[in-house]
Amino acid sequence: MRHTCIIITICLILLLINGVSFSQGTDNRSNNDLDIDLDLDFSIEEVEKKPYSINADIELQETIRFLDSDALLFKQKYLDTKKDDTFWQTDIDFTIEGQYQWEKISLYGRFNSLIYYNKEVDWESERKAEEVYITFQPSVSLAVDAGKKVHKWGKGYAFSPVAFFARPKDIDDPDATLEGYTSLSVDYIKSTEGIIQTFAITPVLIPVTRHINDELGLENEIIWGGKLYLFTFDTDIDLIFSVSDNLNNRIGMDFSKNLNPSFEIHGEAALVQDHTQYIIDEYGNTNEEKNTAFNLLLGLRYLSDMETTYILEYFHNGEGYTGKEYESYLKFIETGYKQYLNTTSKTAIFKSKKYAAWYNQQAAMKDYIYLKISQKDSFNILYLTPSITFIYNINDQSASITPGITYSPVTNLTLDLKAGFLFGKSNTEYNEKINKAKVVVSIRYYF
């Protein structure tokens, strides 16, 4: 299986390289000089604005996971009950968003409905309101938003240490929409003639009750904070903070700048006060350590002359586990599994599962490198974009590699194919995940 994965990866890399050389233009472009009778519609219907707008998209996705029954996280989840080595899931995802504007007030909502099928659960569905909020904008400089809203702050692509008021991103799909938190925020913008060309202040208030934002903490809590944005010397700079009585106080900053038109650098840094780390060792002994965590992101984006885009990021996760700590957790799972096989006792395995929320999350350890390479209009085909994504865990030298292709053959239709492969030695993060590989095929239509 691994040899097949390596061969497929090499093929897709060669595809990407060939796509780069084909995309050089000049002699490789079509010399078709057909005298096409152009029937161009120069009317623009959208000039007449309506007070409302509605958009929707529907996605059909098939996911095939190649399970790794030797992996420790597989054993933690399934013990010895699962015999299949593949897991198929079909998803039908429907998103609708709408906006209504009446003078200085507008109402926006985005709703998602997911229907999925797999052998384990049969047909299931989930519905959620990702965002629903009202905006009052008395002037260009001032806007007040109240409701469920996503505050996606930060300059990072795959990682965002300063996204204090947003749910964690899926680093396998950083561009996916997120569900917001119920909040009250204000946005005040001011432009000046001075060194600071623009500044903006965005205070945010997030209430936590039994029914609102309850996943964030204890009830009857208010999290408040904000962002100060500055545009100066052709650089975007943000200063961000978040405070509350019961959750970690955080302070951070980010920046983004073009060193030249094709080369952008960005970074984020955040301090998390009184971060509690939950640790379990290979013997099942647990510990809580409190410290001030420092999270750092440094990244760059480069566009070559052949229109290849490189996104490279280094992420230091101060809230993550060291190589040794993570290895101990995996060894405890191994011990627990052996105990189960010998005595049918699931005590140790269940104990390890209590810590899965921290250890099994994405980027659970301390240091990562992220690299994404994509090539626009490959093989002389407009709107065909192959890409390859590497995520490398510096602490245990394990990695994931995901080649993919996106193609939009016609307006409003996107085809996507991705295949993810995991590599690493025993007792490393990516080697011990439930899947050893995953293939995702999707079709999305917008209307």
């Binding site: 000049t26 096409i36 707008s53 958009n55 996503v150 052709d234 983004s256």
Partner: protein
């Protein structure tokens, strides 16, 4: 005596030759400013349709609403197709950003990329005044008007050299050739269908482009409802990118 006469004659000839050149050098940049003024009011809004045509005749269309202020600030939002709706772009000088609603935050982009694909790149779609980016190195008088030879002021400008062919009667361009630093022709822009948009705005309503690098591909920008409008500077900021549609 003879020597003095020759010296005076030579000096007079030199003055006669240099003066028009000096005048033309000044006039070149002045003409460029006037062309900019005719193409773009000081502060205005507009709708544009961008049409990409592939060699096999396949078309892809994008509709944008844009606002521009001064020489170097322009902001746009895509109104169609549905897959692009809500995406917005902002340019301040040589800084450009793209906001995608799903991503939820602006990202920096470059002038040579294209948010739409096709022959037009971001520098063409978010065009600032030519006089903001170029100096006029040379001017020639032609039967139709003038030819201006422009050189980029900064390395960050998309095209190192531009040749602008101007109709002297209307002081509007009818063709622009865009060159790389190597001298390679990157693309041609043809300004067509002059239209009176009202309120003193008379300008080409269609820009067609082709490129030797993309043989068989054509792209068009069609302008509609170009209207003078007072615009606050705060509109041209990252925090406003998600709200540009509200200006319509």
């Amino acid at each position: 005596m003879k020597k003095i006469l020759i010296t005076v004659l030579f000096s007079l000839c030199t003055i006669i030759i240099i003066s028009p050149i000096s005048a033309y050098a000044l006039d070149g940049n002045e003409i460029l400013e006037q062309v900019d003024g005719n193409l773009n009011p000081e502060s205005y809004e507009m709708y544009r349709k961008l049409i990409n045509i592939e060699p096999d005749g396949t078309k892809k269309e994008f509709v944008m609403f844009s606002v521009k202020k001064g020489k170097e600030k322009i902001a746009s939002v895509f109104l169609s197709p549905a897959s692009e709706k809500g995406r917005s772009t902002l340019r301040i000088g040589e800084n450009m950003w793209l906001y995608i609603p799903n991503v939820g935050k602006p990202l920096r982009i470059t002038s040579l990329q294209s948010v739409t694909g096709g022959v037009f790149n971001n520098s063409d779609i978010m065009k600032v005044d030519y006089s903001a980016e170029y100096n006029c190195d040379k001017i020639e008088k032609t039967d139709k008007g003038y030819t201006l030879y422009l050189k980029a002021k900064l390395n960050s400008v998309a095209y190192e050299n531009v040749t602008m062919f101007i109709d002297s009667e209307k002081l509007l361009p009818y063709k622009i050739e865009c060159y790389a630093a190597s001298g390679m022709l990157i693309k041609n822009l043809y300004f067509k269908n002059i239209k009176d948009f009202g309120d003193g705005v008379v300008r080409p309503s269609v820009i067609e482009t082709d490129s030797p690098l993309y043989k068989g591909y054509k792209s068009y920008i069609v302008f509609a409802k170009v209207k003078n409008r007072e615009l606050a500077d705060e509109i041209f900021s990252l925090n406003y990118m998600s709200k540009i549609d509200g200006l319509r």
